[in-house]
């Protein structure tokens, strides 16, 4: 639990003018996660999504409760593998990498595709 506390010393004489304006400290969870129950963290491996600012080793915030639409970055399982790609529905449904070396995956070519959730944020940490 985060406990707010007053910045600065307690004033014996005149009370702190800040005491009426107490707010909670900023919480990153609140900013990054809208639906805690349906949100999972995954780790990106490789550079196939580097064009979308997803570096090797980045932490992906994935919300399974959101229905992905055209243009969203998604987590999908394709024939047993879990991948992170951009979902394009037009002109045809493809899962596209953000790196010139990785060709797009035509959804119609895969035997078994399941969208597992939408990537709502990426956390790249500098060493």
């Amino acid at each position: 639990m985060l406990l707010p506390f007053y910045l600065g010393p307690a004033y014996v004489g005149f009370p702190s003018p800040a005491s009426d304006y107490m707010e909670h400290p900023i919480d990153l969870n609140e900013h990054l996660i809208k639906n805690r129950t349906a949100t999972f963290l995954l780790r990106a491996k490789g550079v196939s999504m580097i064009g979308a600012c997803i570096a090797d080793g980045a932490v992906l915030v994935v919300d399974r409760s959101m229905t992905p639409i055209h243009g969203d970055i998604v987590i999908a399982s394709i024939d047993g593998d879990i991948v992170c790609k951009r979902l394009l529905l037009r002109p045809q449904a493809v899962l596209q990498s953000e790196h010139p070396d990785y060709p797009p995956i035509m959804i119609s070519d895969c035997a078994d595709v399941e969208l597992m959730g939408k990537v709502t944020a990426v956390i790249n940490q500098f060493k």
Binding site: T37, A38, L42, R43, A44, V59, S65, I82, D112, M116
Partner: protein
Amino acid sequence: MTIALVDCESFYASCETVFRPDLKGKPVVVLSNNDGCVIARSIEAKQLGVAMGIPWFKIREDYLKKGGIVFSSNYAFYGDMSSRVMSILRSLCPKMECYSIDEAFLDMTDLASHYDLYEFGCYIRSVTKQWVGIPVRIAIGPTKTLAKVAAYQIKRRDLPSKVMIIDSHNRIDMLRSTPIREIWGIGSRLSHHLHGMGIDNAYALANSNIATMRKRFSVVIERMIRELNGEPCIGLEESPSPRKQIIVSRSLRSPITRVEEARMPLSNFVARAAEKLRSEYQHCQRMSIFIRTNRFSNHRQAYIADQQTFPVPTNDSRLMLRTANGMLNKIFRKGYRYSKLGVILDDCTLVSSVQGDLFLAQDTHASKLMQSIDQMNQKGARIFFASQHGTFSYPRNQQQVSQRYTTCWEELPTVS
């Protein structure tokens, strides 16, 4: 009343496949602590004929040859997935009882007049599947016992929708096809007795004479009969009642023959049990220890146990360790190869509700000492008692444990 029983399908096995889509359609089993027995099976593993509770070594070779997948139990992961499922259920129906790690009762009485129950059940199922990846079954009835009957019928009929409502139209039919041993709360002994009286399905029990049955058995069976007839007798326990019993026991990796070898693991189990007890603000009145040989080995068999009642309920590790080691010295017999031992704390009650003994001074120093030790250990210190020999890790033998996908930064699922 309208009660729904929501239970997760092959829960542990389902958890293991959430981040492993490559396992879809394959037999998956999960083993108990120390990889002893099978405690969860995917549908495909059930179809292979793997029995619930069967010792792993008996099926291992054959099962793996058939392409089966095996996992050691990963409770850190299952616990997190369970709390996610429960939190979805609570958001859909606030009146709820978490019945076990993978089952909950929902009181849908207030919702029943606003929603089509069948559609609501399907909705619950689609939300848990989409949000957490865990499929659930929803069995709905006017009482808890009837909801349990409906749950059995979903399994028996292998309903693809996994939603079943028991009502006045289909009740008789459902009860007739529910064998007596499948009724909630009926164990093998009671079921044997009832068979002897010619009562072999739920319908026969529902129509038996309440007064006679109460006299012959107990009020428990009266409640069962009333519940089977649609009269609610067992309420929802919305706040979990404190645990009445704590058990800590493990199989040892290699068998022991001398009392000195038993002391260290036993002391560790007692210390762990005492810690659990205190973490729930409880005292216990009674402690038992047991030690036994491997049931599946060809050596001489022995199961010995002893118990002791404390004059005042306690959660003082020092007293409990002294008592446990005293019992161990008393009951230990040479000439056997023991492979499992454990400690059981009984009659656990909340500290605040303990009756003090006028003639035995309450030791407030003890509770302060225990509190300090627990706090330091939670922060990563290693305070232990001499008989524990400084080890907190009991021998674990888990070969196939999966990642702690949701509770450990180093073990997050990876994507390419």
